[in-house]
């Protein structure tokens, strides 16, 4: 076992940090509910950062590291599915790549818009289509930190992909866990900064043990989600992937309200960017039938 980043991985993450530095430092005053960024998306795509999973030498672990790192940014781009699932489908499908579970197609979908590739996965297999304007209803008022839209119809005419649905589901779970790991880390960081600065009763809020312990537990969870995501990316094992996604959804559930709590009223404003991470975590919690869905998938993989 060697759990250090390889030189290549260090170089990739450094390059991402350099590329995203101007974005990370952007003014976030009244950033709105979601903060998609077309320029960032183009920069990342042109830099090849979303294609890393196609390179067998770099593979899914490097792709997961990229997803985790990008999820820390206040801006959002569709990276998780593109980086981790597109390598199964081939490179020429237009981005963003939107994931939809068969039987749940009426749920709001992240990044869905005209021209996006929609991937439908379920018992009848894996298929894709390019969304038309008529199939998509944007949801600008959705309470999520991603641009969301509803799919109005699923066309009968779709491209079938000769890959097992199970492989897509494995990578979907890894993508979810890697993204959640970055979101958790960023939400924790910004909350730590706030409780360190904010004084009440003549001392920083961070000196109250009731907060310290809950933040420490959030650290334990964020760390666990990150490692489970990376391990699952390395093994591509269905059990590892389901455990990673389960831990991610459970950890999101266990921490999001604490983060808001510790900001007090500031945490319910759109002036502060906390929601950009927490309301993305909320969107991930419902993927693939939530914790129950991951739990049953894990139980099936582990114990048959």
């Amino acid at each position: 076992m060697d759990l250090s980043l390889t030189d290549d991985q260090v170089a990739i993450l450094d390059a991402i940090d350099t590329l995203t530095r101007p974005y990370a430092g952007a003014s976030l005053h009244e950033a709105g509910f979601a903060l998609p960024d077309a320029q960032l998306d183009r920069d990342l795509a042109e830099g090849g950062f979303l294609d890393i999973g196609f390179d067998p030498d770099l593979g899914a672990v490097s792709a997961a590291l990229v997803v985790e790192r990008l999820a820390r940014l206040p801006q959002t781009v569709e990276a998780a599915a593109s980086a981790l699932i597109r390598p199964l489908l081939g490179g020429d499908l237009p981005r963003p790549l939107c994931l939809v579970e068969e039987g749940r197609t009426t749920r709001p979908i992240r990044f869905l818009r005209e021209g996006a590739t929609v991937l439908l996965v379920g018992p009848s297999g894996v298929s894709t289509f390019t969304a038309t304007a008529a199939q998509v209803r944007p949801e600008p008022e959705a309470l999520y930190g991603y641009p969301m839209a509803t799919l109005l119809t699923v066309p009968a005419e779709r491209t079938l992909h000769a890959i097992p649905a199970s492989e897509v589901l494995i990578r979907w779970r890894i993508a979810l866990a890697a993204e959640a790991a970055g979101l958790l880390a960023a939400a924790l960081d910004i909350t730590v900064a706030h409780v360190t600065d904010r004084q009440q009763f003549g001392r920083p809020l961070a000196t109250f043990q009731a907060l310290r312990h809950r933040l420490a537990q959030a650290q334990v969870r964020a760390n666990g989600v990150r490692w489970l995501a990376l391990k699952a990316a390395a093994t591509l094992d269905p059990g590892d992937a389901a455990l990673a996604a389960l831990h991610a959804q459970e950890s999101a559930r266990a921490t999001v309200y604490d983060f808001h709590q510790f900001f007090g009223a500031m945490g319910v404003t759109l002036e502060h960017p906390l929601h950009l991470w927490t309301y993305r975590l909320k969107a991930l919690v419902g993927d693939l039938r939530g914790r129950g869905g991951q739990g049953l998938a894990a139980a099936e993989a582990l114990w048959g």
């Binding site: 920083p204 312990h213 420490a216 334990v220 490692w227 093994t235 831990h247 894990a298």
Partner: protein, 381 residues
């Protein structure tokens, strides 16, 4: 990044499993319900550790000059996992080989090393650690057991509590006060347990008989040559010992093994059928594997010679979360396990209650994470 075991590591684990299968008695699972510090297990451990020593598996991580093979922290982890999954047939001797021995190697005088290291390496020693006192648990530096210097000897008076193995131990790693300076006034004495003036009283416990004790020191005379390191050096030495034992016992491994066993029993009884039981089992596994990976991240850094600090508290807290959830799972879905139907699960449950207490309470781990990992300003004192 590479998450695979090397061939050598896999072979090492296989070898340990084969040895355990060959060596442990047929009724081992029932037998191991005697806690790791019970008289029965302590006696068994002497023969078992003798076997390990003969096979070069008792101190493989010690330096070659001292009878070890210099194996890296990954092998040490594999050894710890396999032994703990098996119910720790080394009894209290795991402590000797993991940190008492290495601490003596670093700080012991030549006489102390000559006297104490060979019995540890042969599997014949049993130590106890006298840290906690009735008034000093988490706040160890407040300890009051006094060692008054009198010429070339110390006169020790005071009381220790929760001392594991004390009933049968031959030597005590005793932490006591030699001056009033809170941390620099603490010293370590290596005290034979048959020294006049020492009285041991067993404390009945939930984790099996003979496990924890009170130890009274009444005018116990200890030669100055029995002091480990300098006067006042205890805090530094304890710090070093901890680096060898930062992660503590790999409880995540037994928790996962107990979970797998519980599920296989439930399946055999056609009771692993509802969604609730499956989802709860999966939550347990997610926590054991999260704790495992958090621990491995630290082993990896140790193996690379990096200094390990507060991150290990994060792995320890993750382990506590996992241990508790698995214990709760078994109580809820396989209650007969606690009534002796499944000795292995009962053994796990007995030991599990200690996870968040012994060797540093869970809340102390959270305090460390808050201050040293998250870098939050300290609580006022």
């Amino acid at each position: 990044m590479d998450f695979d075991w090397t061939d050598q590591e896999t072979a090492f684990r296989d070898r340990l499993r084969a040895l355990l299968a060959d060596t442990l008695p047929d009724d081992w699972e029932r037998f191991s319900q005697h806690g790791p510090a019970s008289p029965a297990l302590t006696r068994y451990a002497e023969s078992f550790c003798g076997t390990l020593a003969e096979q070069g598996l008792l101190i493989p991580h010690w330096p070659v000059e001292l009878g070890g093979q210099g194996l890296d922290p990954w092998h040490q982890t594999i050894l710890a996992e396999e032994m703990w999954i098996a119910g720790e047939p080394r009894g209290g001797q795991y402590m000797n080989v993991n940190w008492i021995g290495p601490t003596l190697i670093r700080y012991g005088s030549p006489d102390q090393q000559a006297r104490y290291l060979p019995p540890i390496a042969e599997g014949k020693a049993l130590w106890c650690q006298g840290f906690s006192e009735p008034g000093s648990g988490s706040d160890l530096a407040s300890l009051r057991t006094r060692a008054e210097r009198d010429g070339d000897q110390y006169r020790v008076t005071g009381q220790k509590i929760w001392t594991s193995y004390a009933g049968l131990a031959d030597t005590c790693f005793l932490v006591c006060r030699t001056s009033d300076d809170r941390k620099r006034g603490i010293s370590i004495l290596l005290v034979p347990m048959d020294t006049p003036g020492i009285t041991v009283r067993q404390i009945p416990s939930l984790i099996g008989e003979g496990d924890i004790h009170e130890v009274f020191f009444d005018d116990v005379i200890v030669p100055v040559t029995a002091r480990l390191g300098d006067e006042g050096q205890a805090w530094e030495i304890i710090g070093y010992s901890l680096t060898n034992e930062r992660l503590g016992i790999p409880r995540y491994a037994l928790a996962r093994a107990a979970l797998d066993r519980a599920v296989s029993i439930l399946k055999a009884q056609d009771e692993f059928d509802g969604e609730a039981v499956k989802i709860e089992a999966a939550h347990c596994a997610a926590l054991t594997e999260a704790a495992r990976m958090a621990s491995y991240a630290i082993v990896d850094r140790r193996a690379k010679g990096e200094a390990i600090g507060a991150e290990s508290s994060s792995a320890r807290f993750a382990t506590v979360m996992a241990e508790r959830r698995v214990c709760e799972f078994i109580v809820e879905y396989l209650p007969e396990a606690l009534a002796d139907a499944h000795p292995y699960l009962k053994m796990h449950h007995q030991r599990g209650i200690v996870a968040g207490i012994a060797a540093g309470a869970a809340e102390i781990q959270l305090n460390i994470i808050a201050t040293d990992v998250l870098k939050l300003p300290r609580e006022p004192r």
